[in-house]
Subunit: 318 residues, 2 copies
Amino acid sequence: MSPHKAVRLARTDPVRASRPVMLAIAGDSAAGKTTLTRGIAAALGQDRTSVICVDDYHRYDRAERKQVPYTVLNPACNYIEVMEQHLQLLALGKPVLKPVYDHSTGLLARPVLIEPGEFVLVEGLLPLHSKVLRACFDVTVYLDPPEEIRHGWKLRRDTAERGYTAEQVLAELERREPESAAFIRPQRQWADICVRFAPIPGKEVEPGTPLSAELLLRPTISHPDLSTTLTDDDRRTVHLKLIRDADSRPVDALHVHGYAPREDARMVEKVIWEQLPSGHGTPMPETLGRLADGTRSEPLAITQLLLVWHLLQARPTP
Amino acid sequence: MSPHKAVRLARTDPVRASRPVMLAIAGDSAAGKTTLTRGIAAALGQDRTSVICVDDYHRYDRAERKQVPYTVLNPACNYIEVMEQHLQLLALGKPVLKPVYDHSTGLLARPVLIEPGEFVLVEGLLPLHSKVLRACFDVTVYLDPPEEIRHGWKLRRDTAERGYTAEQVLAELERREPESAAFIRPQRQWADICVRFAPIPGKEVEPGTPLSAELLLRPTISHPDLSTTLTDDDRRTVHLKLIRDADSRPVDALHVHGYAPREDARMVEKVIWEQLPSGHGTPMPETLGRLADGTRSEPLAITQLLLVWHLLQARPTP
């Protein structure tokens, strides 16, 4: 009868082994979150992986947002406290009734039950916004493409898939910039891994060459020892360099060259796939490295494989 | 980074005083839950009271239910575990994003944020179904009208407000009976107070006379000492009798006579209202005792006042 009783968990003794491994992929609109997430889910296995987009926690639908003084990038435009509750519950292996924001109509719709699999991949604008949110994750990623590249991606996607005109997208990007600076980009500091897909400055490449990737591997989690895994040949494709981050913190920068011969890159992928923690032993899925336009990016595939390595590594030991 | 961190509560030190008082009103379809709840909310004050219908936790919409082998009375037809989460959170004073089932369309709709007031009134088919649910409440009520009276109420409401034909309602009542027996009526045993509105058998009354009320006051919570509050005159309207319940447990039965002169009943209401715990001192609201058809039932008003007494009594002391 006393309210004190109410705090008890529904199930007694939630065993550590039943808790999922949680990955966050944060980044601005059209930074490539869905593309990155899709390949990771395929590599882990769709049947044991739950994918959640936290943009579903938008507080207002598209029409209502016209009456509020902020954009969806603002935490005030999202149910952050409910997002915190739900991610905490998922981290404990419990189901949640997740709200649904329909990007194609701009409406908030009927919620869906999410029963967490062995892995929960959480992508969206603000998954690293608060300390409570960050504490829910085993591995955190921030996607950090150069702004001009991201703007091009957003223009292409929002006109093709979300029913906006080019003018509307450009105006929206401008309107969002202050809140992007205030709320989205600060999340970069909290990521274990920052990923930047970009051309290498000054380097001439053939048309159709994938963007290179720079992965900042922060010492907040243990990274695989690539020095023993990769051969000297592999280093033409992938190399590691100790640098200082913009805030002067030391960090390992892993460079994956988009202009490397595809066969060499595929060899690196194979080496990483075969080094994945035991018990994985399935063939490497075709969807790794697949871009929205159907072409393949080896730097993307290698990034996805590295994250798969982390997720398998973080699995609770029974 | 470890999943263990994720279990921490979002806010540190949720103080006992900020937790709401929680009331459950359980009962079968059309047992009078909404009517009872409405007057209690009015008496407590709409601004400090949240009302929740747990039938919003239906798992399927009306069309989908045609494809499942059970009715809405079956826990399998409801998100019981999510209901448990949400009531636990509300009992701690936290907001929840509550699903919405629209009775007029039969569709599941956009969820709404509920930020609990000082009092949370929870009504529905299954709020006392599980131990976790029951532990969330300070006071629990089961509405237990005779089946023939409830069938009449359901027929009237579902044809007038929910777009069903009389034949459909009668067929549905028959279809639901096994699950009513299996899941709804067993909740009666868990209630602190069982309320039955019914005519007194063998008693001839004028048309328009309100139904009498029998309230079983179980010793699971402390009830007001009516023996000191009520005068001998009042006992013509209200009297208390020690009986054995159907399961042979001892229980106080409070009888409120619908055929008593209205002035006498109003006097009893006034006496109870004035005895309410200090700090309430507002005029007695007009909505107390109001039935769905707009007429007034003094036994209903007295029942509502007794529950208001319990909720004010259960408030945490600062």
